[in-house]
């Protein structure tokens, strides 16, 4: 279902090694695509819901990323958050790979942005 109407290409899998993240800034709010150490791809909103920080710069461990500034961890599969200071999760987006290209399909939900940040 990668290439349906609302999907778009964000890069090449070859450019995103395991353990790395790609920040997709062409959309607002931006999205972070993660390639986990065990080879899975996930996409969530890039902006922490606590404060304006890029989760693509965060600490990736298993299927979770910790905000680079504070201690909230987001589940890459669902966007759910584990602990303060963030109190709400981020959106999870659909991501897939076709012929080595990474395709993203954005969630239709409204994003949860930190106080003072607008999309």
């Amino acid at each position: 279902m990668a290439e349906n109407e609302s999907s778009f290409r964000v890069g090449l899998l070859a450019d995103l090694p395991p353990g790395e993240a790609l920040r997709v800034a062409e959309v607002s709010p931006p999205v972070a695509v993660f390639h986990t150490e065990d080879g899975q791809l996930f996409a969530i909103d890039d902006t922490c819901t606590h404060q304006d920080a890029s989760l693509a710069d965060g600490w990736l461990e298993g299927c979770e990323v910790e905000c680079p500034l504070h201690a909230s961890r987001f589940d890459l599969r669902t966007g759910a958050v584990d602990a303060p200071p963030a109190k709400v999760g981020v959106r999870a987006h659909a991501v897939s790979v076709t012929d080595g290209e990474i395709w993203l399909t954005l969630s239709a939900d409204a994003p949860n942005l930190p106080p003072g940040v607008t999309a």
Partner: protein
């Protein structure tokens, strides 16, 4: 240890709230009582010198509790604890009530250090410290157009307040008694690198000349330095560090000289634990109890402490970590700067506010600093060794 059925947490800020969360998430289904001196529900303090002071963030945004969160806790807010009976694990409150529990957690945090010379200086109108929501509200109300502000202390709170005040378009001067700011946490070279942020934004920083006193009758009119310089001021913010809020433990017999002395899992005495800013956990690297005063420790150490309380392995503590935001620059530090490390700027420069620096001891990475370098910083932070907490360490005994 007797079966744990009730836990009394004294302090309802970050560490106290995190303790209650950890107890519930680790399966404790007994009674939890949270005592808080302030009337507010648990809130986040770092924005008090930044976004909240600037008016970008409101009090509701500071709540630590998520919407709908219910930890099944009995809240006793607006009550200060006045005494601890270690042998009975009992706490007396300011209304005379005596609460007894199977375990007591001391999480009363810290208080802003005041200028020497008694309370007279702090009694002047216009003189502020920034520790709690009421402090920040009072200061925010005085930051009106045209007001001249002097910040005493170029540590993190002072620097953040100066940055915020500057951002509001007010005139601000920072005075620091030490010859170089932040040399304790960062070392002289990088302390100066961070402190150049003031000058680069047109904020005057005066170092090496201590404050002699504050001028004014009822309201502050200026700050006098020991060399006779007088800095006119309508508002003075004192940011010269914090002290463990342990006055109420004076009669407990506990060692509270540099914070409540604890084992490396937060144990103080049988049935008594301490965590957060008021606590000095034994640090195996330093070889002594050490008060960290870092937000991240107040959030994470309760998880380890509760594991130990419930008879589990406390696990490993990550390297100490703190951040500060000044003039739009995110400063991050992890590890321990004990002095004598080899410090190397690996990327960026102070002039462009994008320093990434490492601290090495005998070739081993022991600390890392980043200014607007989240990716490099996080990667290096991950490689810092953690501290195993279960290694046997003497549990401090109450002194009698």
């Amino acid at each position: 240890m007797a079966l744990l059925e009730s836990v009394l947490v004294v302090g309802a800020s970050l560490a106290g709230h995190a303790t209650a969360r950890a107890l519930r998430s680790q399966g404790f289904d007994g009674r939890i009582t949270l005592v808080g001196e302030e009337r507010e529900r648990p809130y986040d303090r770092p924005p008090l010198s930044k976004g909240f002071l600037a008016g970008r963030v409101e009090a509701a945004d500071l709540a630590l509790e998520a919407a709908g969160e219910d930890l099944q806790v009995e809240w006793l807010l607006g009550h200060a604890a006045t005494a601890l009976d270690v042998a009975d694990t009992a706490v007396t409150l300011d209304d005379g009530r005596r609460l007894v529990a199977d375990a007591v957690v001391l999480a009363t945090g810290s208080r802003a250090r005041r200028l020497p010379g008694g309370t007279a200086a702090h009694d002047l109108a216009g003189v502020h410290t920034v520790r709690n929501l009421a402090d920040a509200r009072a200061l925010r109300a005085e930051l009106l157009p045209g007001v001249r502000v002097v910040v005493v202390g170029a540590g993190f709170i002072g620097a953040e307040v100066a940055s915020t005040v500057h951002g509001l378009g007010l005139e601000v001067t920072v005075v620091e008694a030490a010859p170089a700011p932040l040399s304790g946490p960062l070392g002289v070279e990088l302390g100066l690198a961070v402190a150049t942020l003031h000058a680069r934004h047109g904020v005057h920083l005066e170092c090496g000349v201590p404050v002699a006193g504050l001028l004014g009758r009822d309201r502050v009119t200026g700050v006098e330095l020991v060399d006779g310089t007088v800095l006119p001021a309508d508002v003075v913010v004192v940011g010269i560090g914090s002290m463990a809020a342990t006055d109420w433990l004076a009669s407990s017999g506990l060692d509270v000289v540099g914070g409540v002395a604890c084992s490396s899992t937060g144990a103080v005495a049988p049935g008594v634990w301490a965590v957060g800013d008021c606590a000095a956990w034994y640090d195996p690297v330093r070889g002594l109890p050490h008060r960290l005063e870092h937000w991240t420790d107040a959030l994470e150490r309760p998880v380890a402490m509760v594991r130990a309380m419930l008879g589990q392995s406390a696990g490993t503590a990550r390297a100490p970590y703190f951040w500060s935001e000044q003039y739009g620059v995110m400063i991050q530090f992890a590890g321990r700067h004990l002095g004598g490390e080899q410090i190397t700027i690996e990327a960026g420069s102070p002039a462009t506010s994008d320093v990434f620096a490492t601290y090495r001891r005998d070739g081993e990475l022991v600390a890392v600093l980043g200014m607007n370098q989240p990716k490099l910083f996080t990667r290096a932070r991950r490689s810092l060794p953690g501290t195993p907490l279960d290694r046997p360490s003497a549990v401090p005994q109450p002194v009698s």
